[in-house]
């Protein structure tokens, strides 16, 4: 899960290894979850999403797992590459009252560092 503290949680992996980034979300009513990747000096970029009626979704080299029982989300990156080095954010949304629009709540973020 996420660390709570003053410093951004970090994960250091060797190139070619698999990475697992964890996230604990806060609202049991959340029904849509997204992972974003933020490279240095850039804005967050969409990676993969999952709805609450699913527990697993696969993309290209990435897999998201959702465990609603314990409100836990994870992002698995296969064969991690140096270009995967970034801060990864999980985000959750839940429906607001009518006409209030979507509200995306971001988690703390985890910094992934890939060693060549």
């Amino acid at each position: 899960g996420e660390s709570v503290g003053l410093h951004l949680p970090t994960l250091s992996v060797q190139e070619g290894d698999n990475s697992i980034i964890n996230c604990a979300y806060s609202n049991s009513a959340s029904d849509y979850f997204i992972w974003y990747k933020q490279e240095s000096g850039k804005g967050p970029q969409f990676i993969i999403d999952i709805r609450s009626n699913m527990d697993k979704r696969q993309g290209q080299r990435v897999t998201v797992l959702l465990n609603k029982t314990v409100k836990h989300l994870s992002l698995q990156i296969a064969a991690t590459q140096p270009g995967d080095s970034a801060v990864y954010f999980c985000a959750e949304t839940y429906h607001l009252i009518y006409n209030q629009g979507g509200k995306l709540i971001f988690g703390q973020g985890t910094e992934l560092s890939v060693k060549p």
Partner: protein, 114 residues
């Protein structure tokens, strides 16, 4: 062709000044947002507009005033800047603002208040 572009990328200013950050998206999206990212990388929504109409207005000091002249533009004006306003501000857009849409972010404006 940058999808969501914001200017300036860096903004250094003195306390008490007034400054603006501009944002434009060429994706044809209806909804635009402003997010604030603090020094710990925590991202928090400030405002969202749908077709020039204010939808979300989080607990943000009224020194911050968004303005949307049309649905492709959402500018952020900040009055009487304070040290605590130092952060990276991100503009974003999405198709309709529905809860199950991905956001497209700009590259951020790093604001430093001295």
């Amino acid at each position: 062709d940058t999808a969501v572009s914001q200017t300036p990328k860096y903004l250094v200013t003195q306390m008490g000044n007034d400054k603006s950050i501009k944002c434009e998206q060429n994706l044809g999206h209806d909804t635009m947002y402003w997010y604030k990212q603090d020094s710990k990388k925590f991202l928090k929504i400030m405002f969202s507009y749908n077709n020039k109409e204010l939808i979300i207005n989080e607990t943000v000091p009224n020194r911050f005033s968004p303005k949307s002249p049309d649905k492709a533009h959402l500018n952020l004006h900040i009055n009487s800047l304070e040290l605590g306003d130092s952060a990276v501000y991100f503009c974003a857009s999405s198709w309709t603002g529905a809860t199950n849409e991905k956001l497209f972010f700009g590259s951020g404006t790093q604001l430093s208040v001295l």
